[in-house]
Amino acid sequence: MKNNKHLQWIENYSKSSYQLFEGNILKAFAPIDFYHFFPLWYDLWVERIYQAIRKIQLKKKENSYLIYLPVPSAIRAVLQKLVIIYPKCPKIDKEKIKTIIDFFVHALEEITQEDTFSLKKNIIHKPDEIDDLINKTKLHIANPEVAREIGRLVMGLGALVNGLYNDVVTDMGWDSYGPYNLYKKADENLILLIRHFPNLRPAEIWEEEGEVQILKHKEIKIYTIYKGIDCRINWLGCHPTFDKSLTDSLVTYAVEVDGRFIERVEDLTSLKEYYLNNAASHYKKVKRMKFEELKTKALWQECYQLNELFNSINMDWRPDKQMIERVKNKRLLKNLYPLGEMIDYKTYCDKFGIRELKELYKNK
């Protein structure tokens, strides 16, 4: 029975997480080839996470630490990288990686209301919370031009967090919740989608960059209600897909910046300009970074994902000397994963940790 339970979640995890790679190639991930970088040092990272989780488990208050975890899509991204990378790191203890995987799967089960691994949705609010939210939020009537401005704002914010956190940590700065069906409310095919940018100012990982520390805002939430559209969130919140044009389907919207709602379209346009310009200028700096700098930055970005959890138990989340030494002046590994070819589901299961995951839980 227990074995079946594990096989079921592994099956669900596999199908959902594959969506990150479906129709994609690893070569498209930027600014470095992360999957041939992480195995250089991931055993050290896994040990750190394990120590943190053991500390939490010894306190016997595992669920009280859920609030210190990043947004659900970032938890999924952390989990997926662990599953993909650990088979390439022989030093990683199997019982320890299992403890970590169990911790994150449990966290996702607790945080989400349904569809734990986001095969189609990323639902974290209960129906009464959505009712409350709709009642309290001052929604503005949209039109196609406003819808385009919202789209450009999302692009600017998304591009900024992509530069701040990199392609495989973007979820730390960008999640989407929903789609929440609002049928009962208006007898129409209405859905609510909430785009959340929880940390636009990760100064700790860009300490030398004054401009990150003075970015105007910390958190932005964009509430959008669409009519007659099918929306899916496939594994990660920054990857929503839609069956119709967003421009024609947006009915109402609200933009909340650090707890304050934007009232005028002119302010929306200024906000959009601000983030488009900052995203472009920040990424120019990323593109100018040398290989050694990019590796170190990726190390910091990866560890930063669990900074609040580590802080909550007085552990240092920052990469230590040993981690930095592991990557310093080291070339990336080669041929661990297919770089330039499309990844089909079978390849994903064979080469991206699913086979090993099933093996890991075979006798549990």
């Binding site: 990150l20 070569k27 789209g151 591009a159 967003l246 995203a279 472009a280």
Partner: protein, 110 residues
């Protein structure tokens, strides 16, 4: 358009049909030539191009998938996007007027 054969195919990453003038972006030097309504053609977009993307009618990339950067941002802006065309930057030329079908992943000469 239906009678024509597509000159290029890839993965449709953001639905919709749009037309425009091809502008191939190989480096930041090419940014200044980009006008509102152009079709952005590049290897793969990155965040330095967001100001161009905000002006583009459509986006075409040599590589990438439905979860890649150009795909995500095109869907948010409601403009068509075709990725993984392999060689759009070689087959298309600056100044061509093309039609991009983001649902089918096809590109036609106008």
């Amino acid at each position: 358009m239906k009678n024509n054969n597509p000159i290029l195919k890839g993965i449709g990453a953001s639905i919709g049909i749009a037309e425009g003038v091809v502008k191939i972006i190989k480096s930041a030097k090419d940014f200044k030539n980009f006008n509102k309504g152009d079709v952005l053609v590049t290897e793969i977009t990155d965040p330095t191009m967001v100001i161009l993307m905000a002006k583009a009618n459509a986006i075409i990339c040599n590589i990438g998938g439905i979860t890649s950067h150009p795909a995500i941002v095109s869907r948010e802006m409601g403009i068509p996007c075709v990725v993984n065309t392999k060689n759009a930057t070689k087959i298309l030329e600056n100044g061509m007027i093309i039609i991009v079908d983001g649902s089918k992943g096809e590109i036609y000469l106008k």
